[in-house]
């Protein structure tokens, strides 16, 4: 089975390198982007299985990347995990509303990051059957 490919988008080269090392060690193939424009271009070029996306990016930002990707049908389905240093208040809801799978606050706990990635990659849609609730006699 081929390794899953993850696109990491962050404008901090140190963070990019750190994530690269960590995810490679966990058998993921990695591609990188450092700004809004190259994030979309790299997603087009390498069709990753998942995108780790920073919010504060040059030339637009993470939310713009999400918008752009949504307009390209083949890329719109790629699960996105937001990894941002920004305050979760407000941003988290906005990110989830925009379709992100999760919002992680930097600095990220490695175990948590890996767990969220695994969940986003192996996600299956499950619908519970309705349950009935007996009110009893009134």
């Amino acid at each position: 089975m081929r390794n899953k490919k993850i696109l990491i988008v962050d404008d901090d080269p140190d963070v990019l390198q750190g994530m690269h090392v960590r995810l490679k060690a966990n058998h993921y193939d990695i591609c990188l982007a450092g700004d809004t424009f190259s994030a979309v271009a790299e997603a087009r070029r390498s069709s990753p299985d998942l995108i780790l996306l920073d919010l504060g990016l040059p030339a637009g930002g993470g939310f713009l990347v999400m918008e752009r990707l949504k307009m390209i049908p083949s890329l719109a389905i790629i699960p996105i995990i937001i990894v941002s240093a920004r305050d979760g208040l407000g941003n988290q809801k906005r990110a989830l509303d925009a379709g992100a799978k999760a919002f992680l606050q930097k600095p990220v706990d490695d175990a948590e990051l890996l767990a969220v990635i695994r969940q986003a990659l192996g996600e299956s849609v499950r619908k519970d059957p309705p349950t009935f609730y007996d009110l009893g006699r009134i």
């Binding site: 901090d12 140190d14 060690a25 606050q105 519970d128 309705p130 349950t131 609730y133 009110l135 009134i138």
Partner: protein
């Protein structure tokens, strides 16, 4: 430049008083005041709504309004216009109350010295202007502080993020095996990085507390899970100091109504503190039980065998930025914000927190939090009483939850209470209901089943009709059923239970207003929020 005349609205029904008050303006320069006189509160409300008034002189005894009510009504229509209330000699206490409701000043009729009235008006307007300005500056300052903290924390987090990543990369041997000593030192770096991270979070949290922006989303929460999480997270820190960290929380404990993330946060702060202040080989214990004095509360206790707190400090430790001045308490690191945040989190979830301690023998921190009660939550929805002149409407609500809003166990646990609420609701309407029975169209029964799934809602709706059929026939009632489909509020949508119930209550009202009914079973009205 010629100054504009100040527009004064006088609301007073006593002609004698009006004449006296008018005379008080006689000594003023012509054109400095323009007096509009109205007799009734309703007229005043209409006039105020149009705008253009600089100040209101309001009598507190009008034909269509009395006492504080007049002040509230005026304030509601024109919240930004200063107001002076006029009152009799015996009403001074009431006038003082009016100041709390937003009046700038009060004048006692018959005691107003000559020329004092225009001066009082000018002062009130000026005071009001200054107050508005101060409020605005304060809001701007708070906003600026928020922005600043948010910016700073962002800037601090980014480099911290890189440090943490590479430290863990080294620790995990991803860049080659470390010598034991190197491993130990890297461990120290990581511990301090985490501490710095926690401090940045605390700073942000405190700024939120002060700005009233603390996000709390109460829901049905398991206490034992939260305790297990806290033990799991801090076991390492305890073991490092050879401290025995144990918990004693029976699995029969009821769920509580709290934000699960916040509950974990509270526990982590308390347990972390306990470990910090307990010398090696000590003991830290977490316990939970239903409150002896109030069965609607759960008590959570974190006790330690640490150095203890002197009695005069047990309240002060919850103050913001409190730091112990005792030099013997080494190992104390932090901003002194943890317990303050803890107290705010507990307080805003309807609980209390306190500490008891015997110096040298350890401390016990106790927290109370409300036990989750579906009946208590849905009760407010039934308060909409039927009016004596209108048809009686009964509303029965069931909150559905296939999407995991409540677990099956919790629903089973709560079902009895819910049934009681429903019964009480029926019962409390009986005195209105009975005289109207047999009168066609005078009684309507609405059963609103709130459930997430349309098919489920329909089935339940049918079931209720069947169950009630005999009763309804005997009583000669008209029975209508309808249901609402409501996506459960929850973690994902970021809405609180309160918001959910508010929606539910307004939805119910909407349905009642629209008089939605179904002649035959099967016609369902679905409403999604």
């Amino acid at each position: 430049m010629k100054e504009r005349a100040l527009q004064v609205l006088l609301v007073e029904d006593n002609a004698g008083d009006v004449r006296l008050l008018r005379e008080m303006f006689n000594g003023e320069k012509p054109g400095s005041f323009e007096l509009t006189h109205l007799l009734r509160m309703s007229e005043a409300e209409t006039h105020l709504a149009k705008g253009g008034v600089d100040i209101v002189l309001l009598d507190m005894g009008l034909p269509d309004g009395h006492g504080l009510d007049t002040v509230r009504r005026a304030h509601r229509v024109a919240p930004n216009i200063p107001m002076i209330v006029l009152t009799g000699l015996d009403d001074e206490a009431l006038a003082a109350e009016a100041m709390k409701e937003g009046a700038q000043d009060y004048l006692i009729k018959g005691q107003i010295e000559n020329r004092a009235l225009p001066r009082a008006l000018r002062h009130a307007i000026e005071r009001h202007r200054m107050q508005t300005e101060t409020d605005l500056i304060r809001t701007q300052q708070l906003h600026f502080k928020d922005q600043f903290l948010s910016h700073v924390s962002h800037e601090l987090r980014s480099p911290l993020s890189a440090i943490r990543q590479f430290v863990t990369i080294l620790l995990d041997g991803l860049a080659g095996e470390l010598q034991p000593e190197q491993h130990e030192y890297m461990g120290i770096v990581l511990r301090n990085v985490k501490q710095l991270q926690a401090m940045i979070n605390d700073l942000l949290e405190v700024s939120r507390v002060q700005a009233g922006k603390l996000m709390i989303e109460p829901q049905c929460t398991s206490i034992s899970e939260a305790i297990a999480y806290a033990v799991d997270t801090l076991q390492g820190a305890a073991t490092a100091k050879r401290i025995v960290l144990s918990s004693d929380a029976g699995c029969q404990l009821p769920s509580i109504c709290t934000d699960p993330t916040r509950l974990r946060q509270i526990l982590i702060i308390l347990v972390d503190n306990a470990i910090k202040f307990t010398p090696p080989d000590g003991e830290v214990k977490i316990q939970a039980r239903v409150c002896e004095n109030d069965p609607s509360l759960l008590v959570l206790e974190v006790s330690d065998s640490g150095c203890g707190i002197s009695p005069d400090m047990t309240e002060r430790i919850f103050e913001r930025l409190f730091q112990t001045s005792d030099p013997s308490l080494e190992g104390r690191k932090g901003l002194g914000l943890g317990l303050y945040i803890c107290k705010e989190l507990v307080r805003r979830q309807g609980g209390q927190i306190w500490a008891k301690s015997t110096p040298g023998q350890g401390s016990v921190f106790s927290v109370t939090l409300p036990i989750f009660s579906l009946p208590a939550l849905i009760s407010p929805a039934f308060r909409k009483e039927g009016r004596a002149d209108g048809p009686v409407t009964l509303v029965v609500t069931e909150i559905g939850s296939q999407s995991g809003w409540l677990s099956d166990e919790v629903r089973a646990e709560q079902s009895h209470g819910v049934r009681e609420v429903l019964q009480r609701c029926l019962h409390s309407h009986l005195d209105v209901l009975l005289p109207k029975m047999g009168v066609a169209g005078a009684v309507e029964l609405f059963f609103i089943v709130a459930i997430t799934d349309a098919i489920g809602g329909k089935a339940i709706s049918k079931r209720i009709r069947e169950q009630l059929h005999d009763h309804v026939q005997q009583a000669g009632l008209t029975l209508s059923t309808s249901y609402q489909s409501i996506a459960p509020a929850g973690r994902h949508s970021g809405e609180s239970i309160e918001a959910f119930l508010e929606q539910l209550a307004s939805g119910i009202q909407e349905l009642i207003n629209a008089k939605i009914s179904s002649e035959e079973d099967g016609q369902c009205v679905t409403k999604r929020f």
